[in-house]
Symmetry: C2
Subunit: 761 residues, 2 copies
């Protein structure tokens, strides 16, 4: 854990430059707008340790799979988030010295990410080798109002000299992914061009043939006046175009470059119009100017915060942490485009590849349901609906048939990317989460139209998968599910993972209910779904019913707890507090063999099941299982603590709930797992939000009614959160005085608080 | 399965050239002598599909591990069998046309491997593009009498022309492994030289710094007279040296090149003397001449066959098959060098890397015990003894301590090479096989000196491993062993694999017995072992005893069978004959997921245990388990059928035994598994020998006495085998008239045949 950032309710602040922390800060200070984003790399370049990252949503590359030993059924490639052409370059050369913080003496350094307005500011005073002292101030944002536009205001002030300088303003498509499997570059040049005050480079990905046009224009201002000076030198290379602009740096007279960028991809524009449209977007941005762009950007953020802000009084770090999570989630996914999803690193790193894990359904959808209009979550559901044919193909590849679907563990376009057999083939609970998200959406929004129009097909295909994936055990006289990996990935290839069996049975039942609902309430939809899926209403449903009624669940009669899997009680049952601190995290300190055989849990999947299906269990059952599993859980998945926080809140373990909240909310700000340099843990940030809203706030939807059951952690003075719920925005404020509710927008609503109904107007 | 080779009792014969079969033939026609060997690549080169392979025993390269996803505990590298500098090149150019069977019209082609003499002969008639018709006859061997010497007699006859030709006689160290993980070459040049009638190249492996000097000299003969003609052109390149020798090819007048090679490695010579010694060996070979070398080579083979031949009357294919197996094993490992071992592909291919698997202990040692003096098997045991410190290190890496040893799954120098967690970390039964081989050696040879001097340390270290690897299950009130993969690799990460638990308990008991034995019979050895291992005679032995007495074994009370692992009865229990032929082999047709969940067995590990510990079980128990497991076994491991053949023989299932024998004996000759092109399945060949000797012959050693209990498969007229046993060579002949025994050499011996003792003189 590192604590080097300053606490502030709305800002992330770094006060000095430490090269060893640079990659972490590059992640934390990332900016994005759902359409594109980037790590906090320096505009002037940096020869020290850095992970260069510019990302364009939906643009990926299928890197050839690298494995030690091939297993039948593995995918041919792993879809990588692409490091895309960079538009941020403002390289600075002063009398043949390049400005580079790796070689200059950095005397002052400050980086501020203002989350309220989405603006990244950096101020540096550096002394070059020959003693020239220069101040740099850079302000940068990716416009939330115009997804394809980014802008930089980069100001240089010569503090103790006057000299000629050169600024290189460029687009660099000659970039690569650090995690390329075979050290290949993934971009080819399509075209490039230079014009009076800018350049444009259009590049195309190999194999996938996505095109991205990146255009930049610039303006230079000195002491408030535009500089129209010497002609730039044009530099054109393969996949690169730049202008080298001579400027005079007069002592103490700031020179500012405004660099505008437009980044358009062939996802949204026909390739033949890409360059033209790019220039049009770019020109409009230049015409409007930096201040106007920044203003509309900040206004858009203001609106976003109105929907989703959480305030915490009495604990600035907690306040900062929760806002950072909401900020990152909001800039990763805006819900405008049903082809996009929430990558595990968002726009903050390239690790893991793929854009979609079960994280989206289990963690992110509740966040977007609670903080954005229903279409955002609906788009995430549509994404999976559109991938249904590929999920069916994927199942066929593994030996399933008749329309059974296995959604991929990791995907970009619906095809599986992952290649570890124990995950790719066995971590099939993801299918359950995808079914559950449909239920979650309908429950929260009350909108059953998605269910009957689209969801039903998905549910039928997933139920078919479960029906084929179980088998009858003559020995147990029950249906069993063999060879699975649950959410607790510290167990592999187990039999009868309780969570997976539970969500499988739930899916079968929910599918059968949904069929009845659709038959009664949406006959056209129902008939169409029947036709498309060729469902046999008699034999298939009868079979599902038999399975649902006869599925096996491992249970310990002594302790009255659900068993994580068959044979779990054969382990040496000990607790995390018996482990020496020096042996943690286990995933860094122990061999895989030892981890697998131990009782220690990465994320407790029985508890995940109790969280999803809380209403099926008594308070005592929740407690018993929590008491058994929580002490064995090492929380080495970023997705783990939030579920524990919610359950702990539910059963009145408030201190435990708060402890779990702390683990999740500042995970990246404090680099808790020593891996933030690879990027932020975007999807688990949704879990932080859930910890507050579903945990401390006790928010639930039951029979269409919003229920709240809040408590105030003793460490806080008060807190508040906002909820989007059925066309209203509701503000919930919790203080020692009790729970106050305010209807920010929308019509009257009845809300249940601590079991008592209140009407909001 | 392919049937393109001619049946013959002593020869392997290919009668025509099929480019699609060439890589298979390259494997099958491989030659070697324990010190070095090579695939049947053509001397003149070949531009078609080919796997070039020249191998020098013990010379390997640690190729950087390639995995998709790293797991803690994985080794940094995978030791590869090295494609070494080639000495076979006799490239032929006739008036600027290169002789290349890929481009010439091949009119006649015959390849014969004479197993009796170890000579590879190839006769070709080919027409070049311009109509020149030429005959080639090549004879080649790696001397069994001089491990460092190889020789080729290569004869060219111009059939319809007279022309000038050039022969290139070279050493080529600029070679690579086809399975290089990162497309790297593994050799650097140390030196090269050219002299009047030959060249020498010394090359060194990267990282491991093995040096190999390869020298060649040649003589050219035309119509019985030595040709001393035009001076050769010398070609020297990086890692390459060759002479280009002009010769005149007169129509119908054969020209023969005798090419002699000496291949010396730094394993056996100080590097500073390597080149000098190489030349000395080479010169001696040239002085003695091809015929004398061939003669002594053939005589050595004759002696080998005297020790290990098996004859089969009435079935030429079976005869050829068994001899091929014995031939390949004998040329792979001669037992002279305790640093060497038996690679899975021997000198016939580079696949799998490593040289040592548990195959050596479980399959090869019985073969060498039965067919060679005890020192051969003893050297194989010493190999593991010398690796004991590394096996202890390996265990430490995985979290074990206090002198526990886990031998590697795959190794060259004692370090683990393999990198699949379910095998590397979990296929720990290998440790048991290594212990068992000590027992097997002592039982067969009666030589307990190995046990007390060396074996005891190994046994103690392995017992320590088992003692730490099990854990107490409060639930079962037994010790259990979690997370293992048995010999049946179609199950991974299971609990309580019966075979592994059984061999673990056996090891504990055998170690305790051996301690008592050493204490009583070899006190000095005992004291030394105690000191080295720091064994606590009280607490450790007490602990082992407790574990051995309380270890859990899964058992089906209904069927009275041992269960392969916990939960095996939850599977759908079906049989291989229910599988459509089109779905086999499963490892090519099914996803890994489906294979893991099915009941189908790659090699039946319960039966492996019954084979090892046959005397612990009643005939009825053997039958019951065989009847249960055999029908589920797909034998997709080349090591599987032999164990079934032996057990089937034991319980009187003679047809099944014969069927199993057929599967193993011609595995490579008929390319049964469609993978012989990668190399022959050397280690499983020992299983074929066991099928005959332990299966049909019923050979066992009980209390120091050789027992035989033979039956004659009805498909055969008679068969015979020879056994090395306690300084005797015994010939066993089985015919309808009964079993005849002959003492070929050594003093009188009492042998039990069908339970009746006979004295041989």
């Amino acid at each position: 854990m590192k604590k080097y950032l300053q606490a502030h309710p709305w800002q992330i602040i770094e006060e000095r430059f430490d090269p060893h922390l640079n990659k972490i800060s590059e992640s934390v200070f990332s900016i994005g707008n759902g359409h594109m984003g980037q790590r906090a790399n320096f505009e002037e370049g940096y020869s020290g340790e850095s992970l260069q990252g510019t990302y364009v949503a939906g643009v990926y590359y299928p890197d050839k799979t690298r494995v030690g030993w091939w297993k039948n059924g593995y995918p041919e490639y792993f879809a990588k988030v692409l490091n895309a052409p960079s538009w941020i370059g403002v390289k600075v050369r002063i009398e043949n010295q390049r400005l580079d913080l790796a070689t200059a003496r950095v005397e002052k350094f400050q980086r501020i990410l203002d989350m309220r307005t989405g603006l990244l500011t950096r101020t540096v005073v550096a002394t070059l080798a020959d003693g020239k002292k220069i101040e740099v101030e850079s302000r940068r944002f990716c416009s939330m109002a115009r997804g394809e536009v980014g802008a930089i205001a980069y100001t240089l002030t010569a503090l103790n000299f006057t000299a000629e300088a050169e600024l290189t303003l460029d687009v660099d498509a000659d970039v690569m992914n650090q995690d390329s499997n075979y050290q290949e570059k993934f971009w080819d040049e399509v075209s490039k061009d230079s014009f009076e005050d800018g350049v444009i480079v259009t590049a195309q990905t190999k194999k996938t043939h996505f095109q991205v046009a990146t255009g930049i224009r610039y303006r230079i201002q000195s002491q408030g006046a535009w500089v129209h000076g010497k002609k730039p030198r044009v530099e054109l290379r393969e996949k690169y175009a730049g202008h080298i602009v001579p400027v005079t740096l007069d002592q103490n007279k700031p020179v500012t470059v405004f660099k505008y960028a437009a980044v358009l991809s062939s996802l949204n524009h026909p390739t033949e119009k890409l360059t033209g449209n790019c220039l049009a977007v770019l020109n409009k941005a230049v015409d409007d100017g930096f201040d106007a762009l920044l203003n509309e950007h900040a206004l858009t953020w203001e609106k976003k915060w109105d929907e989703c802000d959480i305030t915490i009084e009495g604990d600035v770090e907690a306040q900062q942490g929760i806002r950072f999570n909401i900020f990152q989630l909001t800039q990763t996914y805006t819900g405008e485009d049903e082809r996009l999803n929430i990558g595990p690193k968002g726009f903050t790193g390239e690790k893991y590849g793929g854009s979609t894990y079960w994280d989206t359904e289990a963690y992110c959808i509740p966040f977007y349901l609670g903080t954005a209009p229903p279409r955002v979550a609906r788009n995430l559901l549509m994404y999976r609906y559109k991938h249904l044919p590929k999920a069916i193909e994927n199942a066929v590849k593994l030996g399933f048939n008749d329309g059974a679907a296995l959604y991929p563990m990791v995907t970009m376009n619906g095809e599986e990317c992952h290649n570890e057999w124990e995950i790719t083939f066995e971590e099939i609970h993801r299918n359950g989460a995808i079914a559950y998200a449909i239920y979650d959406y309908v429950r929260y929004t009350g909108d059953a139209s998605y269910l009957t129009q689209y969801g039903l097909e998905v549910l039928i295909a997933i139920s078919r998968f479960w029906a084929q994936r179980v088998n009858w055990s003559e020995d147990k006289k029950k249906f069993v599910m063999l060879g699975v990996t649950g959410p607790n990935e510290y167990e592999n290839n187990v039999n009868n993972n309780w969570y997976t069996n539970y969500i499988a049975r739930w899916t079968l039942n929910y599918t059968m209910e949904s069929i009845v609902y659709a038959r009664e309430h949406a006959q056209d939809d129902y008939r169409r779904a029947l036709e498309k899926t060729k469902l046999n209403e008699v034999s298939e449903i009868a079979n599902w019913k038999t399975i649902a009624e006869n599925l096996y669940f491992p249970f310990d009669e002594n302790r009255k707890i659900y068993l994580q899997q068959d044979g779990f009680l054969d382990k040496v049952l000990t607790t995390v507090n018996q482990l020496p601190v020096s042996e943690r995290p286990l995933n860094q300190k122990w061999s895989w063999d030892r981890i697998l055989r131990s009782c220690f849990i990465k994320q407790a999947d029985v508890l995940q099941g109790l969280y999803f299906f809380e209403e099926d269990f008594s308070q005592e059952a929740l407690k018993r299982n929590f008491d058994f599993y929580e002490p064995m859980t090492v929380h080495e998945s970023s997705l783990s603590p939030c579920v524990h926080a919610i359950l702990a809140s539910r059963i009145g373990y408030y201190d435990k709930a708060y402890e779990m909240y702390l683990r999740t909310s500042r995970l990246d700000l404090d680099d808790y797992n020593n891996d933030t340099e690879d990027g932020c843990h975007i999807t688990s940030m949704a879990g932080t939000w859930m910890s507050v809203v579903k945990g401390f706030g006790g928010m639930r939807i039951k029979e269409g009614v919003l229920h709240l059951n809040p408590f105030l952690p003793k460490q806080w003075t008060s807190y508040s959160f906002r909820l989007e719920f059925r066309s209203r925005v509701i503000k919930v404020m919790v203080s020692p005085a009790g729970t106050e509710l305010k209807l920010i927008s929308g019509g009257p609503l009845v809300v249940s608080v601590n079991g008592i109904k209140r009407e909001l107007r």
